[in-house]
Symmetry: C2
Subunit: 271 residues, 2 copies
């Protein structure tokens, strides 16, 4: 079964898409074709959206689903004329929150991802620059690092660091364990002062070989044997040094980040 879903927002549509993805993922047997209609912030744009949805309805013969975060109820009404099933993300919660907080919602549009707080913006940009300059062992001065990821090449350190920087302003560095480190089963001297901030990323050897094969096909680096040896040594090194670690094979970047923050007690608001 296939169904069409439209994410509609007066701003970026990220909130609508995030909650929509989470809800729809709970319906196993259904395939969803998703479309974003961001910046739907005028009656004309709402009418254009309604027309597009109606056209899709006619083409497929199945009622589309609209997940929306439109703050203006009149825009919502226009879109609803398409005949779609309307899932209004904010509506069910507003009444109870207004009662609890003893105040009315402002009703302003573009509240969430569309407003820039310079201090937050700078925190995320500075952290992103930090992650870039401390990627892959480039700069070994970790005195300002909130945390340092260690692991073998292609274990997911770089994207995890960038994600933590961009979304949480966390200054995350990463250090790739070298063959020398793995041979000696010792952390390099430069990392030892920061042991409390180290976290290991592990991965299953079969998966690592697959990823490396994509990158350097046919190389020794990509052989299962080499991957097995590196990971086994990395595991021994991390255990010996008392560094916590996570097997990332079946874990998304978001989940890796959450688990690391949880472990280190880092409580940062998401940007």
């Amino acid at each position: 079964m296939r169904r069409t879903v439209f994410y509609i927002s007066d701003s970026t549509g990220i909130t609508a898409e995030t909650i929509g993805n989470s809800i729809l993922a709970q319906f196993d047997g259904v395939q969803f074709d998703t479309h974003r209609l961001p910046f739907t912030d005028t009656p004309a744009k709402a009418e254009a959206a309604a027309l597009r949805i109606k056209t899709r309805y006619a083409q497929t013969g199945q009622r589309p689903i609209v997940v929306n975060t439109l703050a203006d109820p009149s825009l919502c009404d226009v879109v609803a004329q398409s005949g779609a099933l309307m899932i209004d993300v904010f509506a069910p919660f507003m009444g109870r929150l207004e009662a609890e907080l003893g105040t009315r919602r402002s009703g302003a549009v573009n509240r969430s991802h569309g407003v820039v707080d310079y201090a937050k913006y700078e925190a995320r940009i500075n952290a992103t620059n930090y992650a870039l300059s401390h990627d892959d062992g480039m700069d070994l001065d970790y005195s300002d690092a909130d945390l340092i990821l260690v692991g073998v090449s292609r274990s997911g350190k770089t994207p995890t660091c960038l994600y933590m920087a961009l979304h949480y302003g966390v200054s995350a560095a990463n250090y790739p364990l070298t063959e020398e480190d793995l041979d000696k089963l010792e952390l390099p001297a430069g990392l030892r002062p920061y042991r409390k901030r180290l976290y290991g990323l592990m991965i299953e050897p079969e998966r690592l070989a697959q990823i490396r094969e994509q990158r350097r096909s046919g190389s020794r680096y990509a052989t299962l044997e080499q991957c097995r040896w590196e990971l086994q040594q990395a595991d021994r090194l991390l255990r010996k040094a008392g560094i916590p670690s996570l097997n990332t094979t079946h874990v998304s970047i978001e989940e890796i980040a959450s688990k690391i923050f949880d472990r280190f007690g880092i409580e940062r608001t998401m940007f």
Copy 2:
């Protein structure tokens, strides 16, 4: 007025935090202290969460707000014993969706950010590697680029490219306009074949000077005069070449990305 908010999830809590931030941002006069309690996936953890919330309730004398995406209603019940105002993000929509789709939700935990689809994972990693290797004019072969951001130094190109790569798997390169380009008011020859994929990032000179001052305090590079000149020339160059652009001064990274995708008709699902 201050209120405490807990984001509780059996997985990362990202969905709860995203919708929670969007809802709470609509209440202007209230300051929210937010806390994340991810991976609350056992009765013991739910009880620990309830105790923490109850303690906070006692300390502040004000009822905390719990925004949760717990899939298991029995865990929800345990948390609710804290006396908090419970905002259950999924509950209001499930009944209507089950009726519409003619199927029951699976009720499985860890559905959204906690499941790894290797093809998607590879798309985001490959795009991130692309953004890193094509950052700041490092690699000028743009044949595989989905889009190329151009702009003066510190106009926000790098974080925007990384965000688009990490979350949408879009291969985004960026090219910093040089003084030579700005003097000549001409795109460098290497960029011309890709004109249809170019997008300019502009910024207000006062804001640019502020950002550059943080980076290289007291330099000519950071003077308002230099920033004004570069931006004026960049604006003329972009107009002359017919390249669309956006003033990013009051716009978040998420919104910049959405607007660019909208302009280029890029419809990608968010990871």
